[in-house]
């Protein structure tokens, strides 16, 4: 079930290009569209990496929910038109720091790439396999359950923040 390299590389390239667009587009709305494209590319990549369930999750949660949420907020915020351009010095600093981070990551990981052995992968990605991971005791069950308080925080947050901005001081 190993995917050939070309489609994977294509998906990677698409993901990177769309990510560039997210970073570079000077209107928030365009960035949202680019994010949508990016999300689709990533979902394709997941599917190619034998992670069908995650791919579907990515489509549903990311493309379906998160991107739409971004779209709403862009619409709700005052129309600023073009985003204020960053000063050249700041752009330079940001790029330099970004490259530094990349270099640091590379420096940290590179020595291990040679010895990175990949197991003769047994079949992964079946829905039942992932399901057992999520719901079997001793695996990720507790982590899964712990997302409940997290979502509770998000719900309370959404409600209270909306009331805070509606309410007079």
């Amino acid at each position: 079930m190993d995917a050939p390299l070309p489609p994977v590389a294509t998906a990677c390239a698409l993901a990177l290009v769309s990510a560039f667009l997210v970073v570079l587009s000077d209107r928030a709305i365009r960035a949202v569209v680019a994010l949508l494209a990016h999300s689709l590319a990533i979902a394709a990549l997941y599917a190619l990496l034998a992670a069908g369930l995650v791919a579907v999750g990515q489509l549903l949660i990311y493309s379906g929910a998160i991107v739409v949420l971004f779209l709403f907020v862009v619409a709700l915020l005052p129309p600023g038109g073009r985003e204020l351009a960053s000063q050249p010095l700041r752009v330079a600093a940001g790029v330099v720091v970004g490259l530094t981070l990349l270099a640091a990551l590379y420096a940290g990981v590179a020595p291990g790439l040679q010895g990175l052995t990949v197991a003769a992968a047994p079949a992964v990605g079946s829905i039942s396999g992932v399901g057992h991971q999520l719901f079997d005791e001793g695996k990720l069950l507790i982590a899964f359950e712990l997302t409940a308080p997290l979502l509770l925080v998000a719900i309370i947050g959404a409600v209270t923040l909306w009331r805070r901005q509606e309410a007079p001081a």
Binding site: V54, P78, G94, V95, G98, S126, K139
Partner: protein, 100 residues
């Protein structure tokens, strides 16, 4: 093996690219989108690990990270709304009453 390296490289580039975006963008929503890029980079590694190590736990973890990302987007966008709804400039550098 080449697939592993390709995806690994992609995720590294994506992480650094997202970080650069977070540093460069001044629109709070764009900043949050760039953070989503960085989260995707991490998730990509989890999925890659699941394949390379033959352990479904990576995929399950990736699903949970998606949930975390969703929760975070909700709260982050809510905060951005509260902070910037009534401001003229939607610029994360502009509110700076707390400093020193």
């Amino acid at each position: 093996m080449p697939i592993t390296l390709t995806v690994l490289g992609t995720s590294g580039l994506l992480f650094a690219l997202g970080a650069t975006g977070v540093m460069l963008r001044r629109n709070p929503v764009a900043v949050l989108m760039c953070i989503e890029l960085m989260l995707n980079a991490g998730n990509l590694l989890l999925v890659l690990g699941a394949r390379a190590r033959g352990n479904d736990a990576g995929q399950a973890a990736a699903l949970i990270v998606l949930v975390i990302a969703a929760a975070e987007a909700v709260v982050g966008l809510g905060l951005a709304l509260v902070l910037f709804r009534k401001r003229e400039a939607v610029d994360i550098d502009e509110p700076r009453a707390v400093r020193g």
